[in-house]
Amino acid sequence: MIDIAWSHFTPWSALAGGILIGLAAASFLLLNGRIAGISGILGGLLSPSRGDIAWRIAFLVGLIGAPAVWWLGGEWPAIRIEAGYPALIIAGLLVGLGTRYASGCTSGHGVCGLSRLSPRSLVATLSFMAAGFITVYILRHALGV
C-alpha cells in the first residue's frame, strides 16, 4: 500500500511550476527550434564548436540566475540537501556520465521526449525513474541510511 504524504503534497504549485517548465521548453522549441535538454546543453560545452557556445551559456545563466530573479519577489527558494559531500560527489559523477550516455535527462527525455511521444524517451524515463525508486528504497529502507 502506498501512503501519501498529504502534508508535503503540493499539487497546485507542482502543476503551476510544471506549466512554467512546459512554457520554457515550448518557447525554446518554437523560438530556437531546439529541445530544452539541460544535460545536453551543459555537456555540449565540453566539446565546443564555433557558434555553438554563446546560446548554451545564455541558457545556463538563465537557469542559474533564476533564484536571484525569484528573490526579487521576496524570498530565496526553499532548498534542503540532506546528502553528505561524499554522496553528492558519487551522485554527480553518476548523473553526469549517465545522462550523457543516455543523451538526455529529466528535461530532454522526461519533459520534451514524452511531449513528442518518443518511444526512446519513454524507455529512458521509465529506466531512470525505476532506478531512482529502487535506489531510494535500498538507501532508506533496506540499508536505513
Binding site: S13, I21, G22, A26, L60, G62, I64, I134
Partner: protein, 141 residues
C-alpha cells in the same frame, strides 16, 4: 544574438518553473522517489503540467521547418532503443536517487548559493568530461 536572448529567456523560465514546483529542492524529489515511505506525488504533477504544454508545442513545431525566429528546427529524429540509452538512464537514475538532484535542479540550487549543490554540479561536469574522454578515445581506436 536573438538566439542567445531566447535561450536566456527559456533557461530563466525553466529555472523559475523548477523553483515554483518545488523541484529545485532535493528533499521534495526524494519524497517522490520514496514510494515505500510517505509518498509525495508532486513530481508527477510537475511532469504532467509540463507535458500538457509540451504536447501542444510539439504539435505546432511538427508543421514547421523553421522556428518563429527563422532558425532550423533541430528536433531529434533517431528512434533506436539501445544499451547505451537504457544503461545510461539506469546510471543516471541511481545518481538521482542518491542525492535527489538531476541536472536542472542542481544548477538552480547552485544559483541559490548552496555549497552542496556546487559540489554536485562540479562532480556532474566531471562525469560528463569522463564521458567525453572515453568517447574520444573510442573514436580514435
Amino acid at each position: 544574438m536573438k538566439y542567445s536572448i531566447a535561450s536566456l529567456f527559456a533557461g530563466l523560465l525553466f529555472g523559475l518553473g523548477l523553483i515554483v514546483s518545488g523541484m529545485a529542492n532535493p528533499e521534495k524529489v526524494l519524497g517522490f522517489l520514496d514510494i515505500a515511505g510517505l509518498w509525495d506525488p508532486s513530481l508527477a504533477f510537475v511532469m504532467g503540467g509540463a507535458i500538457i504544454v509540451g504536447i501542444v508545442a510539439f504539435t505546432v513545431a511538427r508543421r514547421r521547418t523553421l522556428s518563429f525566429l527563422g532558425f532550423n528546427m533541430k528536433v531529434p529524429s533517431h528512434n533506436h532503443i539501445d544499451k547505451r540509452l537504457v544503461l545510461g538512464s539506469l546510471v543516471f537514475g541511481v545518481g538521482w536517487g542518491i542525492a535527489g538532484f538531476c541536472p536542472g535542479p542542481g544548477l538552480v540550487a547552485l544559483g541559490a548559493g548552496e555549497a552542496k549543490a556546487a559540489v554536485f554540479v562540479a562532480s556532474m561536469v566531471a562525469g560528463m568530461a569522463i564521458f567525453e574522454i572515453i568517447e574520444r578515445n573510442r573514436a580514435k581506436s
